[in-house]
């Protein structure tokens, strides 16, 4: 099991290769990517920020929970921080297990727990130049920066 917060693009094929093992029959990969819209607004990019030491620790805790619960420690999680453009991956989760049910259910457990518990924050950049912090409780906008900001990607 390995978890990491990274500040460079995530190589999803490398994650799939990392969990491979002759004893596994099923591998799952989940990739979260930046969408070009949210709640009806055109999105041009997202800043990901984190309480990094706790986020890393919480990802490790969740990874250990999944390993225990689903019986495989062939789990790799990478979450990217910084400013991402549309289509870029913010998170990738790879799991390999002897059988598919464990690989599928561990994947779902990991993404749901990470979304609920890991102290990572995101600020969307909109096509109109504004930015706003949004969260995972239905994705509502919880605070909007005042003036349009320069340098929106």
């Amino acid at each position: 099991m390995r978890v990491a917060l990274v500040d460079r693009p995530i190589d999803v094929a490398a994650l799939v290769a990392e969990v491979a093992h002759p004893g596994t029959g099923a591998t799952t990969l989940f990739v979260g990517t930046v969408r070009d819209q949210h709640a009806g607004r055109a999105v041009t990019g997202i800043d990901y920020d984190a309480y990094a030491p706790m986020a890393h620790r919480e990802c490790e805790t969740i990874g250990a929970e999944a390993a225990e619960r689903f019986g495989t420690d062939r789990i790799v999680v990478e979450h990217r921080l910084g400013t991402l453009a549309v289509t870029e991956a913010s998170i990738a989760i790879a799991v390999a297990a002897p059988h598919r049910v464990a690989a599928l259910e561990a994947q779902r457990y990991l993404i749901e727990a990470i979304k609920a518990r890991v102290p990572i924050f995101k600020r969307e950049h909109y096509a109109d130049g504004t930015r706003a912090w949004v969260d995972n409780r239905g994705g509502s906008v919880v605070a909007t920066s005042g003036a349009p900001v320069e340098g929106t990607p």
């Binding site: 979260g32 990901y48 920020d49 984190a50 309480y51 030491p53 706790m54 986020a55 620790r57 979450h79 913010s90 998170i91 993404i111 990470i114 979304k115 609920a116 518990r117 890991v118 102290p119 990572i120 924050f121 995101k122 600020r123 912090w133 949004v134 969260d135 995972n136 409780r137 919880v142 605070a143 920066s145």
Partner: protein
């Protein structure tokens, strides 16, 4: 007792990413949140969680000198 509080996202925008807060000995998480609320009156900030030493804390948990305390707005990882 002066406690250094880390803040993130909308809370950091409102109060800065690091704040020194004077708390009485034996103060609980709820006391800290009341103190911070008094500094953000009228601003639409989401209700945060609090972490002590990088673990989520309950409202009744006592803050001790030297604790790493963080205000964690609703998370958005993934």
């Amino acid at each position: 007792m002066t406690t250094t509080v880390l803040l993130f996202a909308s809370w950091a925008d409102a109060l800065g990413s690091r704040l020194a807060v004077e708390l009485p000995e034996g103060a609980q998480v709820a006391d800290l949140l009341r103190e911070l609320s008094s500094r953000t009156t009228g601003r639409a900030l989401p209700e945060p969680m609090v972490a002590i030493n990088q673990r989520y804390a309950s409202a009744a948990q006592v803050i001790r000198a030297g604790d790493e305390v963080a205000i964690i707005p609703p998370v958005a990882g993934g």
